[in-house]
C-alpha cells in the first residue's frame, strides 16, 4: 500500500515567456555556433591557399637548385692526379711483380733495375746477360710465370750484354 497523488487538474504548461526565453537562447546558441563554423571554414580556406603557395615556392626552388647543379663547372681538386695514381697503384700488386721477376733462375742473366708504372700498369726491368740464348730463355720463363704479366723485349745491346724488358700487367 502506498500513497497516491491523484489530481485530475492537468499540470500547467510552461508559460509563454519561458518558451520565448528558451527559443531565444536556442537561436543565440545556433547563431554563435554558425559564426564559429563560418570562421573555421574561412580559416581553412586561407590555410589551403598558403599551403598551395608554399608548395609552388618549394617546387620553384627545387628547379633552381637542379639547374644550378647542371650548370656548375666542376673544378677538380688539386690532389686528383695523386689520388688517381694511388688508386691505380692499388691495382698494381708489387709482391706479384717481384715474385715474377725473381722467379726465373737463368744463369748468365742478372737483374739490374726495376721500375713500375702504376699509370701504365707496366713494369720495366733492365738486365745484364752473357749470351743471347740466356736472355731469350729468361724472357720465356718470365712469360711462363703465372703472374699475369706479359713480357716483351724492348731493347737489347748484345755486344755490351744489356737489355730492357717491359711487362704489361693485365687490368682486372
Amino acid at each position: 500500500m502506498k500513497p497516491l497523488s491523484i489530481n485530475f487538474v492537468p499540470p500547467k504548461p510552461f508559460p509563454i515567456w519561458a518558451r520565448v526565453v528558451v527559443l531565444l537562447l536556442l537561436m543565440v546558441m545556433c547563431a554563435y555556433q554558425g559564426k564559429r563554423a563560418y570562421d573555421l571554414h574561412v580559416q581553412l580556406k586561407q590555410t589551403e591557399q598558403e599551403l598551395i603557395q608554399a608548395s609552388a615556392e618549394l617546387a620553384q626552388l627545387e628547379q633552381q637548385r637542379q639547374a644550378a647543379e647542371k650548370n656548375q663547372v666542376k673544378t677538380p681538386p688539386p690532389y686528383l692526379e695523386d689520388a688517381l695514381a694511388v688508386a691505380q697503384l692499388a691495382k698494381l700488386s708489387m709482391p706479384d711483380v717481384l715474385s715474377a721477376v725473381e722467379s726465373p733462375r737463368v744463369p748468365g742473366v742478372r737483374l739490374t733495375s726495376l721500375e713500375a708504372s702504376a699509370k701504365d700498369l707496366s713494369v720495366r726491368i733492365d738486365v745484364e746477360f752473357d749470351d743471347q740464348k740466356a736472355l731469350l730463355r729468361y724472357l720465356d720463363e718470365l712469360n711462363a710465370h703465372r703472374s699475369g704479366i706479359r713480357w716483351q723485349l724492348v731493347q737489347a745491346q748484345f755486344s755490351e750484354g744489356h737489355a730492357s724488358l717491359l711487362g704489361m700487367i693485365k687490368a682486372d
Partner: protein
C-alpha cells in the same frame, strides 16, 4: 456572509449527498444535497458570492472511483496504456459513459517534457510492463460540469484557480499508510460510497510485499453505516481477509465535530473523520 480571504486556500468536498466547504478549520458551508446536480448548483451559488481565489476539490468515492490496471503485455507507449486503462477502468468501476482516467505514472517535469516532445512513442521513460498499476476514474461530464461551476459560468471576472481535483479517499489513504503496521486493507466510507483498497500481500518466500494494490472496489450508493458494514462483511467473504485486517475510515456527514476522538488536524475535514481498526 461567506467572506473568503483571497490568499487562503479553500477545500471543497463534493458528493451526491453532501457539499462541504472549509477554509482551514473554519467551516464555510455545510449542506445536504439530493444529488450531484444540486451540489453543483449550491457550489456555483457559493462561488459566485464568495469569489475564492484558490480551491481544492475533494470528490466522494461515488464520483471518483479507483481501479487496478493489471499488467498488460505488448504495450508500446503511454498513450496506448491510457487507452487500455480507459476501457478497463470504465468496466471495473461501473461508471457510465466516457471517463477521465488518472494512472499512477511518474509525473516529474522531465516526464512531462519527454511526453510533450513526443518522445515517449520512441522510448517511453515509464516502465509500462511487468506490474499492475493503480488508477482512478471520473466521468468526463462530471469533471466538465465541475469546471464550469467553478469558472462562474463564463462570467467575466469570476473564476477560482482549481489547485486540485482528487478523491477524498486518496487523502485518507495517505494518512493510513503512515500507520504502523500498515493495514492489509483500507475501507473508506464517505457520504455516498464505500471504497475498499487491498494492499499487495507478500508472495511466497518474500519478506516484504511489492508496494501497490491488489484490489480496489467501490460500493455506491451506500449511505448509512449499517449498510456499509453489511457491504463490507459480504465483500470480506469473497476474500481471505478478516475484519481485523481492515482499517476503516468514516467521514461523517454530520456537520458537528466528533467529540469522542480528537480531530485529525492533518487530514482534510479531519474533524469529521472516525478511524476504526487495530492499533489506533
Amino acid at each position: 456572509m461567506w467572506s473568503v480571504g483571497n490568499n487562503k486556500q479553500v477545500d471543497i468536498y463534493l458528493g451526491s449527498r453532501a457539499l462541504w466547504i472549509t477554509q482551514g478549520e473554519q467551516c464555510l458551508r455545510h449542506q445536504h444535497v439530493g444529488g450531484f446536480d444540486e451540489a453543483l448548483n449550491a457550489l456555483h451559488e457559493w462561488q459566485s458570492q464568495a469569489e475564492p481565489s484558490k480551491v481544492r476539490i475533494w470528490l466522494s468515492g461515488g464520483l471518483c472511483r479507483p481501479f487496478v490496471l493489471p499488467d498488460v503485455s505488448g504495450v508500446k507507449d503511454v498513450s496506448e496504456l491510457k487507452a487500455i486503462a480507459q476501457s478497463i477502468g470504465t468496466s471495473q468501476t461501473g461508471l457510465e459513459g466516457v471517463c477521465d482516467i488518472w494512472l499512477d505514472l511518474p509525473n516529474t517535469p522531465l516526464h512531462r517534457l519527454w511526453s510533450a516532445l513526443g518522445l515517449d512513442s520512441i522510448k517511453p521513460l515509464w516502465r509500462l510492463q511487468g506490474q499492475a498499476m493503480m488508477g482512478a476514474a471520473i466521468q468526463s461530464n462530471t469533471l466538465s460540469a465541475l469546471h464550469s461551476a467553478l469558472s462562474g459560468g463564463g462570467d467575466v471576472g469570476i473564476g477560482a484557480t482549481v489547485v486540485s481535483i482528487a478523491p477524498w479517499w486518496a487523502v485518507a489513504l495517505r494518512h493510513a499508510v503512515k500507520h504502523s503496521p500498515k493495514p492489509k486493507a483500507l475501507a473508506i466510507q464517505d457520504c455516498d460510497s464505500l471504497t475498499v483498497l487491498v494492499a499487495n500481500q507478500p508472495s511466497d518466500g518474500a519478506s516484504k510485499p511489492q508496494p501497490g494494490f491488489a484490489r480496489a472496489t467501490t460500493f455506491s450508493p451506500v449511505f448509512d453505516p449499517s449498510s456499509v458494514d453489511a457491504a463490507l462483511k459480504r465483500w470480506l467473504l469473497s476474500t481471505d481477509l478478516a475484519q481485523e485486517d481492515v482499517l476503516q475510515v468514516r467521514l461523517h456527514a454530520d456537520a458537528r465535530g466528533l467529540d469522542e476522538q480528537p480531530a485529525d488536524r492533518g487530514l482534510v475535514f479531519g474533524a469529521h473523520v472516525q478511524w476504526i481498526g487495530e492499533g489506533l
